[in-house]
Symmetry: C2
Subunit: 245 residues, 2 copies
């Protein structure tokens, strides 16, 4: 309460670069900044209300996240999400999440996954409660991811998964899940949770594989119906591509 806002609560760091980063990232993930949009430093810094310096820091982080690509001389651009890149993303996601599920089954805290299990059992009911239920369902997915992260207890793996999930958020927005798919997904999640609870690492990995296969199939199906860019020139270099040598 020393500044202007009384008590913002948990929003501790009010650094300008942090604000710029969160706003731009949110807008890209929400699709407000359409892929291909050129990000001009002066324009964006004026819009967000920060100087060019913190905005450059924000853009640097977005480039590291793979959400923004810098053209050689001319400006920056929100990266595209082609169907090919979605396939590629799921390829990495499978590798990481299968491994994470396998490890989680070995190291999990039973109490946490018992609680998750109960919620996934109730998920189909949840999905009958319109938009609010849908939001709650996605929160449940986030809790599941967090529980998995805590179980694997591996900063490298968690970091890699975080990078994948970033791009996943963009895809989730493109492909509007239908209720039927969501109910199936809940059942698949339940199986994974059960496997983790039982300490069955092999089943956890295979169930994750199946779930991601179904998820990708659904996403590609939705995108096939709608008019999404069918192939695209591929988003050069997903993560940071600063090759030092």
């Amino acid at each position: 309460m020393y500044t202007e806002t009384p008590t913002t609560g948990s929003t501790g760091p009010v650094r300008a670069s942090e604000r710029a980063y969160r706003q731009l990232r949110g807008e890209i993930l929400d699709g407000l900044l359409v892929p291909g949009t050129g990000l001009l430093e002066v324009e964006q810094s004026a819009r967000i209300g920060v100087s060019r310096t913190p905005l450059r820091a924000a853009i640097a982080r977005l480039i590291a996240d793979g959400l923004v690509a810098g053209r050689p001389g001319r400006g920056f651009m929100v990266t595209e999400m082609s169907v090919d890149s979605i396939r590629e993303l799921y390829e990495v996601r499978r590798a990481l999440e299968e491994h994470a599920a396998r490890i989680a089954a070995e190291r999990r805290d039973p109490a946490v996954f018992e609680a998750l299990r109960a919620q996934f059992v109730a998920a189909p009911e949840l999905l009958r409660h319109g938009d609010a239920g849908l939001r709650r369902y996605y929160e449940l997915i986030d809790e599941f991811d967090l529980a998995l992260d805590a179980a694997v207890a591996n900063p490298f793996l968690v970091g890699a998964l975080a990078g994948v999930r970033t791009h996943l958020a963009r895809i989730r927005r493109l492909a509007r899940d239908n209720p039927h798919r969501l109910r199936s997904a809940a059942a698949e999640h339940l199986l994974i949770v059960d496997a983790v609870l039982a300490g069955d690492s092999s089943l956890a990995a295979h169930a994750t594989h199946v779930h991601l296969h179904q998820s990708l199939t659904s996403v590609l199906g939705t995108l096939g119906e709608a008019g999404v860019v069918p192939a695209g020139p591929a988003p050069r270099s997903a993560h940071h591509s600063h090759s030092p040598n």
Copy 2:
């Protein structure tokens, strides 16, 4: 010798931030900047010969790479490499490289891996030629990695692997490989190449698993002999940990 050379050829971008990034990254990977070293902006910018602005950009990239961690208020620090973090790194590395090997076996260009095969067959001979041979051997490993990257043709996976390999370079420096281990490693690589050539994705994955297991065992053995930090407080967050929400 990079500064005043008239035409360095392929080294196009002479941006100050790029120079600072490469120099700092190289020094961290080579162990010149000991883990735990505090990086002061003014000090480093004066030493490297750039202003604070490009140096901050360089540090931002190093943070994204996981080589540098920023303390809340007070400065930056070269991240530690504990034995635990090495185990964690190899856990991710196994997941990614097994998957990459599996995919490479399906999509590889036979000619490329034929050439690699010949070189790995000749590797044991190479390792009898002292330091020059050793350098050539490591170049061969790099060629192998590049061939794998080209075969998987997945920017996301390649990017994730690049991140892992960055940290691996630091470990490689800590754990001086003995000639016996290198000969075994060459044989293991040969098996992987053969599996990829044969299009046997399952064998490629399993051979990679075995190779990485042996590699980790060797590294941990070497570190056990020498006096390396046995556990450490774990390097908080390997990759970027800017949680937006």
